[in-house]
């Protein structure tokens, strides 16, 4: 088991450097003036160019640049925006909001998705079953921004049930609708995955054995069936959390949540290269670590794969 973890960690390292280098290259090293547009619409002051060139070694080739950048990074220094603001501070202010949104979205999609999936998986071909199948198809087809738009308009602007935008202290209750929007597609997936998993496992031999043992149906379903059926669902949720923690440019934009997604979008649009790369580095790291956690989760849930 330990060897498995070590192996995965080793695989993680080249991928981390590969992805971050890719982004670095795209932002800084595409042919052309690296400072074009980095200071807004004006041309950057010479003192700034000299300072940044020296700091980021921009007169050297892109690999060395990248190396220097990573060195700084590993010391915990994410650099500064062109306005002089510490990127570390920027991330520290925005990321918690993204995390809150991610957790709410996970909770919403998990609870609704799993419940719908369990109910329809146990009893197929009812009215409920068709309802869930149709609505999940619909949710999968709707792009997030359309869902976001429509719900913001209907629930916020038109019917005044919620605030159209989220207030700056980002309280949890205001995140429910944005969380729902963010998680809507995944929720549909979870419902279908749960449904299929339960329906397939229902016919498993061990279910028959559990009934033959004389256990009450409550226990057969609630303990034996569920524990097996949940494995793919929980691993999906884990992977999804990894994606959710990457922030959502669209949802944060629509509901005006000051999270990491919006920050990175802002940075791209205002051509803040350093900010973009730094945020992406964090996101990639989080994503890779979440992947590893999900693999471990899978091993924890399914004893069969622990001993390879």
């Amino acid at each position: 088991m330990g060897r498995y973890v070590v192996r995965r960690l080793l695989q993680l390292i080249p991928v981390f450097f590969g992805t971050t280098f890719l982004i670095y290259w795209l932002v800084w090293a595409v042919p052309g003036d690296p400072f074009a547009g980095k200071c807004g619409e004006r041309r950057c002051p010479d003192s700034y160019i000299a300072f940044m060139t020296e700091k980021y070694h921009l007169d050297e080739n892109v690999f060395l640049q990248y190396l220097h950048y990573m060195q700084n990074l590993l010391r915990g220094d994410f650099g500064q925006t062109f306005g002089g603001r510490s990127i570390n501070d920027l991330i520290a202010a925005a990321y918690p909001n993204t995390l809150k949104l991610a957790l709410v979205a996970l909770a919403v999609e998990g609870i609704i998705g799993i419940t719908a999936g369990v109910l329809t998986g146990l009893r197929r071909n009812g009215f409920m079953d068709n309802l869930v199948l149709v609505s999940t198809l619909f949710l999968i087809a709707l792009p997030t921004f359309v869902t976001g738009f429509v719900l913001q308009f209907l629930l916020g602007t038109k019917w005044h049930i919620i605030n159209p935008t989220v207030s700056s202290d980002v309280p949890f209750n205001e995140l429910i609708v944005p969380g729902f929007v963010l998680g809507s597609t995944s929720m549909a997936y979870i419902a279908r995955l749960t449904r299929t998993s339960i329906a397939e496992n229902r016919r498993g031999d061990y279910v028959r054995t559990a009934i033959a043992k004389g256990l009450p149906m409550r226990r057969v379903v609630g303990v034996h069936l569920l524990r097996n059926s949940m494995i793919p669902v929980l691993t999906f949720l884990g992977t999804d959390l990894g994606g959710l923690m990457g922030g959502s440019i669209v949802t944060e934009g629509i509901f005006n949540i000051n999270g990491i997604g919006r920050e990175v979008y802002r940075a791209i649009v205002t051509k803040e290269g350093a900010t973009v790369v730094s945020i992406v580095v964090i996101l990639v790291l989080v994503y890779l670590i979440m992947n590893l956690v999900v693999d471990l989760l899978y091993a924890a849930l399914d004893p069969r794969i622990r001993y390879e």
């Binding site: 028959r208 054995t209 009934i211 043992k213 004389g214 256990l215 524990r227 097996n228 004893p303």
Partner: protein, 345 residues
């Protein structure tokens, strides 16, 4: 010839008095309703087992032997399976007429079942200790500690070495034979009166087969259990069974005690089965088989279901379904020419 029907059973059934048998299946009928039609899987099966005896139910795939067992346990898949007639009596009371809660209580405590493939029959994500202990904790209300103690005792009983160490292992960590022992331990946890073993050794090596059969025999003797052994393997049956019921196309075609059956079968099908066993003193000769295939249960031929394959078929076989004729106190056969078979041999 006189149609002496299977005697004692029917007399007591009609008046409804309990017959004193531990478990009996009485004229059971089960059909499977599928998209392609209705398959008559069980067509009037009657057998019984008493405390301390072993009944072997012998038959090919599709003969209905497993479905009968599933109906006894109440684990028949409905849909597509439906019971359309007959009774299953435990201590004289018809289980098919009971509520599902009453039936549930009989499972494990009164009648228990073990299955062919222990790897898929056991839950892969729980330890064997959990799965066996469940019976003690949930059905008997024992504490975790007590349940664990009893579980280890059960594992010892089925001769799993180092039971204490292995109680927290998962099913896939055991070998095939060990897994089957675990299943046996689990089924005996609540001390049932009847154990149904559905092809318990089919998936195992020959040497392990013998060990498991010995274990079953020993446990049965110790506990005075009724054992219903479902199998298609004549070799396994010879050692262990007291009585044998041979099934074909959802019917019992012959019933006898083990010596009688092997010495002088009373049905062409049984004859064919015994004949097809390769014998070491017949080296170099062609293997004998029963020609043809079992009938599709969607479309059972009229008359005796075996008639298309029977070397002795006569016109009457194609017209009239032979009833199960009593040939002696322990023998019955569903063949129009059963008596001739027994007498001529």
């Amino acid at each position: 010839m006189s149609d002496i029907l299977v005697s004692e059973q029917s007399a007591s059934d009609a008046s409804g008095r309990p017959t004193g048998r531990l478990l009996e299946v009485d004229d059971l009928r089960v059909e499977f309703r599928t998209r392609d039609g209705v398959a008559k899987v069980i067509n009037g099966v009657t057998y019984h087992v008493d405390a301390g005896e072993t009944l072997a139910v012998l038959g090919e795939s599709g003969s209905g032997k497993s479905v009968t067992a599933q109906t006894i346990m109440g684990i028949l898949d409905t849909p597509p399976g439906y019971v359309t007639g007959g009774q299953v009596r435990f201590h004289g009371r018809d289980m098919l007429a009971m509520s599902s809660e009453q039936r549930r209580r009989i499972r494990g405590e009164g009648i228990a079942m073990i299955f062919q493939d222990a790897l898929s029959a056991l839950n892969p994500v729980f330890t064997v200790g959990f799965q066996i202990g469940e019976q003690f904790r949930i059905r008997r209300g024992m504490s975790r500690a007590d349940a664990k103690k009893r579980t280890i005792e059960m594992l010892d009983l089925v001769q799993i070495p180092n039971a204490k160490g292995r109680v927290n292992n998962y099913p896939h960590q055991f070998s095939g034979g060990m897994r089957q022992r675990v299943m046996i331990a689990m089924s005996l946890a609540l001390d049932p009166e009847v154990l149904i073993a559905d092809e318990p050794t089919t998936a195992l090596d020959v040497t392990v087969q013998a060990q498991i059969m010995d274990l079953l025999a020993e446990l049965q003797r110790e506990r005075r259990m009724g054992l219903i052994l479902i199998t298609h393997d004549l070799g396994v049956v010879a050692d262990v069974a007291d009585r044998i019921a041979v099934m074909y196309a959802g019917r019992i075609v012959e019933e006898a005690n083990v010596h009688e059956l092997y010495a002088k079968p009373a049905h062409p099908y049984t004859l064919g089965l015994l004949d097809s066993i390769p014998r070491i003193d017949e080296k170099g000769q062609q293997l004998r088989t029963i020609k043809g295939l079992p009938p599709s249960l969607l479309n059972i031929p009229p008359g005796c279901p075996f008639n298309p394959r029977c070397p002795m078929a006569q016109p009457i076989c194609r017209e009239k379904v032979p009833p199960l004729l009593q040939l002696g106190p322990t023998r019955a056969s569903a063949c129009h020419f059963a008596e001739e078979l027994v007498n001529n041999g």
